[in-house]
Assembly symmetry: C2
Homo-oligomer: 200 residues x 2
DNA sequence: TGCAACCGAATGAACGTTCGATTGATGCAC
DNA sequence: GTGCATCAATCGAACGTTCATTCGGTTGCA
């Protein structure tokens, strides 16, 4: 059973990898099942053995990628980090993840902007890329009076919004990734989010 | 000729409107030329009379929508506005435009996240939604030492990024549009962007 | 008369999905 | 330990549908 399961996983992993690659380069459009089969070296019949339909495949791939992202962004937070250090660290991880996983970024962008997402939103529960963990983290900052005393979703929109458009800018060469740029961006968000009625 | 041009415009306008509507509800995927023809009451042959291919139609629609956006966001700036007031005003217009034109927002999101955009980026010149006018405006703030002395693209990413994710949050019901929320968001961006070494 | 605007049935390619066949591992009966 | 039944995993040709695009024809203004 162990061997069989591994084998299974290899097939599925190959299908996921091929789908991600094809969607990244050709888009949702230019990614027919036939090409996924070809690219992954898994027969079409086999893909349909695991996924009832193309939509189910895409959906499963989404969940798979999201869990990878979730594992990544809160990784490496040290006990001795104060809130600001964690604020910077998570944001940086978020940007770094997407830069290192351009195919996932591409896939997410397309997934979230398709009506496909809109239709299955109820089932997806968690919003964009680990945002509810982010939401909890930002709520903590509000509760501790470190961040502005506003609706947490305003801060989420700022925190995530700037990260996403930063990755976008880097991807399309308007901006280049450098330590200084990241530092300055984090300061922009921090200065915007921080509670100015209480110095910390 | 005037009449003919008007007639032409009516057909094209109907095609544009139908395409926008279909892409909004069914996505890039579920928008075949046949349905565009049906929805717009323009024969397929006629559409192909004006646009050599479906890609050309999408491309033309994109340029059309972008010019509408550009006209909109810098509208209503009064002579007596100081920089901060303009900063707020433009951002608000930006958000408001997308909220009032949900179909265009949908279309842009899908357009920019498709490899279609990536491939034609060179021809598009102007980046996302009037960003170069925005870029000039933010550069002005840097030059006047009102905004942080950083690469202007960092500020563009913040300014636009927060606006887009705000619209997204409102669209997907995480956030509701209210005067207070908009005010607080603008303050978040302003506090982040402003040059804190020089009080103004 | 010429030409741009307009039409929609027809075409051929491409797509998602199905299905019957094959393989090999597992478990049960004897 | 041998024979047999079962079943998940695998395969890819074939199917029916849907798509972007073409083209031959009509209309009506200049």
């Amino acid at each position: 059973m162990n061997v069989r399961l591994m084998h299974t996983n290899e097939k599925i992993a190959a299908v996921f990898a091929a789908t991600l690659k094809l969607i990244h380069t050709n888009g949702f459009h230019g990614t027919p099942m036939s090409k996924i089969a070809q690219e992954s070296d898994v027969a079409i019949g086999t893909i349909y053995h695991y996924f009832p339909s193309k939509d189910d495949l895409i959906f499963a791939l989404f969940k798979h990628c999201r869990s990878i992202l979730n594992d990544y962004i809160f990784d490496g937070i040290k006990e001795d980090f104060d809130y600001k250090a964690s604020f910077f660290h998570v944001w940086r991880n978020f940007v770094q993840f997407y830069l290192e996983n351009g195919r996932i970024f591409s896939f997410f962008e397309q997934f979230f902007s398709s009506p496909y997402y809109e239709k299955n939103k109820a089932e997806i529960q968690e919003p964009v890329g680990g945002q509810n963990k982010v939401l909890d983290f930002l709520q903590e900052g509000i509760d501790k009076k470190i961040l502005k005393q506003v609706n947490v979703h305003l801060l989420v929109a700022s925190y995530i919004g700037v990260a996403l458009s930063t990755v976008h800018s880097i991807k399309f060469k308007d901006l280049h990734f450098s330590e200084q740029n990241m530092q300055e961006l984090m300061e922009i968000i921090w200065d915007g989010a921080v509670n100015r009625n209480k110095n910390n």
